[in-house]
Symmetry: C2
Subunit: 342 residues, 2 copies
């Protein structure tokens, strides 16, 4: 029982609601015997969903009733100040109070960041938490941050993201000196705006393994481990990728369906095509970490299905097992000391 | 002969050089009997490439010698002021002098914009040209601008891009009131930075058919015809898409190769897979238009191959046939008048 992991899960947030979240909890508990869950949300709603999946309160599952929900269009300030009994807030409080080791929510990103920052506080020398996810690369994966938590970033923020991303990659992937690139628009251009040019100098002066500017296509290549960008650009890159992957899946099915020969070949190739579609399924990468906090908070995609949400819960479990905030703090100190002595 | 189209082609610019460009000219001239080409570049270099493809000076092909080349890392100001006999500059001069109806170049985007703007001038009420390309959507395509010509855009620039993109879509696709969306990071966020919020008001107040904010994934959907964004974000979205499409193609081949059953199914499905790979080949979409100029300039990808470069030449031919700058000017007047009277 010592190696159990307790996760507080916001059962109400997001476009998806308790139906998807509780289904995901069922899937994940079946697969992960070490997982304990505290479902946070309206008791009546959550219990109705639990009943559908034959889930019962017990040693591995508890329910924490609360009365409010952060809506997707609530400004972060409203969510923070006026909804102190929201499922999102209470889930994060449980982390603060050490009743849970991590919180997962599919709710409003702005509110999740504001509440996490207020309740858990940021690590020393970190101004703002950043959202970081893994994306597939040819032979492995890439970490990208920020994905939308911070829209207007200064060069200093981008430098902090570089340090956090580098540390996460080192911790989670067991890679020494992960290669960090700064997202820019390529050598044939005027080489980026002032923010990016300044950030490049700051990151180069830190002791992360900075490999220079990378372009959008390099996110999916294999020569960079961490891609740093501001939250507006990162969010567009991420969602553009989701849209393209989805369209390509549609094209593939459509091409096989468009002739009798294609239909026959498609029938024979079906198991292979399923493996392929599974490889490009963005749901396998669902679960973005809010890095830079004194605690673990994982954001699920707002329109995740149960399978995708389940992956976000597993991301939180890995971060608990690795104690990522502690590793980030330890890795931050020498990096920032070195940067300060330049 | 009256319906011939004369295109001035920068044979030297880009990472690709005369080898690819001359090969592309050969391919396109074979396919397009109406095409006349003026190759602009170093006579010795270009003639050597022409010889490889059995191309000769004649009624459909001429060669305009020049002595300089804009390098990929030349600052636009240097390209503009110090290289007055560059292949890029001379190609655009030929458009200005009405010896050619359009210019195509794979060179340095910043220099291409600076020179085009200086030589050809912008249309009335347009501050800056924008780079616009078509991207595939589920059942058709989407026009996206700006793709990297303008890194720091004001809300007013984004509004001008909306008007230009709407007009291009209307002209090229014969669509009435194309649906224009402004790229943003989705409803669950704080809804964008100040620039985007302000631009949304300006575009809504113009009489383009503004459908509101769109997210990255919607570029590849089918409910928007024109996606407007600043050049930094647009360039990242475009290159991210190229990288992902390339990785997915790799995954597909790899998945079929990874078992004996896959190899067999792959052999049978080969013609279908080739059709599919062709559908997601970004080279089919090569050729971005510099919109807002008193003349037609098309930018090829800097690392295009001959097939991709050939597509860029055909984009220029279509714009000549439609007289796109004239249509944009005509469409701009009522739109901007209406906007001014708000």
């Amino acid at each position: 029982m010592n190696d159990s992991v307790t996760i507080a899960i916001d059962a109400m947030g997001g476009d998806i609601g308790a139906e998807v979240v509780v289904h995901a909890v069922k899937l994940t508990m079946d697969r992960q015997p070490r997982l304990k869950v505290i479902l946070v949300g309206d008791e009546t709603v959550v219990k109705a969903e639990m009943a559908k999946h034959d889930l019962h309160i017990g040693e591995r599952l508890s329910l924490h009733h609360c009365t409010e929900v952060v809506q997707m269009d609530d400004p972060p300030s409203v969510a923070l100040r006026s909804k102190k009994d929201s499922s999102m807030r209470v889930a994060i409080n449980l982390v603060k109070e050490q009743q849970a080791e991590a919180a997962v929510s599919a709710g409003n990103t702005g509110a999740l960041m504001a509440i996490s920052r207020f309740v858990l506080k940021t690590l020393p020398n970190i101004d703002r938490p950043a959202l970081c996810t893994t994306l597939p690369a040819r032979h492995g994966h890439t970490h990208m941050l920020d994905l939308g938590a911070n829209l207007d970033c200064t060069a200093e923020h981008l430098m902090q993201f570089a340090v956090m991303g580098s540390t996460l990659a080192e911790a989670v992937d067991n890679v020494k000196s992960p290669r960090v690139g700064l997202l820019n628009i390529g050598a044939e251009e005027i080489k980026g705006n002032d923010q990016v040019k300044h950030a490049a100098k700051l990151i180069a002066a830190s002791n992360v393994n900075y490999i220079g500017f990378v372009e959008g296509n390099e996110i999916y290549a294999e020569h960079v481990d961490v891609v740093v960008c501001d939250g507006f650009v990162g969010n567009v890159a991420l969602k553009t990728s989701e849209g393209l992957a989805s369209m390509i899946g549609y094209y593939l099915r459509d091409t096989f369906k468009s002739s009798w020969y294609g239909k026959l070949a498609g029938l024979l190739a079906l198991p292979i095509i399923k493996t392929f579609i599974n490889r490009i399924d963005w749901r396998r990468y669902n679960g973005a970490s809010l890095l830079g906090l004194k605690g673990i908070v994982v954001k699920s995609h707002g329109s995740a299905d149960a399978s995708a949400y389940s992956h976000a819960i597993e991301v939180a479990m890995i971060e608990v097992a690795k104690n990522v905030p502690n590793m980030i703090e330890q890795h931050l100190q020498p990096l920032l000391r070195s940067e300060a002595t330049q």
